[in-house]
Amino acid sequence: MKKRPTVLILDDDELVIQSLGKALQNLGYGVILCLNPREALDRIENSEVDLVVSDLRMPAMNGIEFLEKIQAKCPNAARVLMIGPEDREIAAAAISREAADWFLGKPWEEEVIRLTLLMILRLQRIVCENRELQSRLREQEAGQENAFIT
């Protein structure tokens, strides 16, 4: 059985990270809470994060920029943009160009979060499986070449 998935939550509003963190802990996730993007980028270096949830509007860096940095640093992590109702259009555009995988509206319902994370992590698991299969095939091919070159 794999360890429970870890979610990094970034928002400049402490209330938001606390309450979302609590909701995710209730659902069985491990959580890392961050108030600023720099701290989050540092912390992701040293931890195995499966999913990153970031607010869109933050003073230091916007959430899309942040998630793009996450992808470069940690391509296996799934990315969710947290938005207010007025930013759905922005979120849809960001997801279309693959800057994020999904969005979460504020305020959230726990059941919506649960289903959204379940769905995202299913996709992520299959994507990881894909990478493993590709590298297994490459190894096998390399082994075969190695054996037959004279």
């Binding site: 999904w102 379940l118 894909n130 299969l133 095939l137 096998q140 037959f148």
Partner: protein, 170 residues
Amino acid sequence: MTEGTIMLVDDEEYVVNALKRSLRREGYNTIGFTDARQALEALQTEDVDVIISDQRMPGMTGMEFLIQARKLYPNVIRILLTGHSDMEVAITAINEGKLYRFLTKPWDDRELKITLLNAMKLRKVIVENKKLVEQIQEQQSYIQSLEAKYPGISKVKRDKTGAIILEDSD
């Protein structure tokens, strides 16, 4: 550019048509049905990536239809259209892995678009993984057949410079 074929099933034709319009704008192929049984038949000949089905239909519920479709084609991504009163059915099905996601009526076009983007991505990777497993198995059986003919051939030992080390068998 998006691509892929989406099957739309709802007993109300205007719903099928509205979905068609939205999804065609995104560049998908669509096939629509107002009868779940006809849709099941069509699955035998059509190459479908994603199915979106309404839950409340006469004769067969959306979930019944999607479970039958899953038996025939387990890799097709399944999405249920529900009213708020049927959400429990959808949630149970998602928990059991029978359903990818549900959309509530009336749906939000942006959510529909994002759901489909992710559904197509999932479908693509599932199909690719299946192919990779086949390739790996093919290669393994090829190596095994060679190994049976020429024992030791797949395990050539090399030294640090890459030269092959030959060992006497005695």
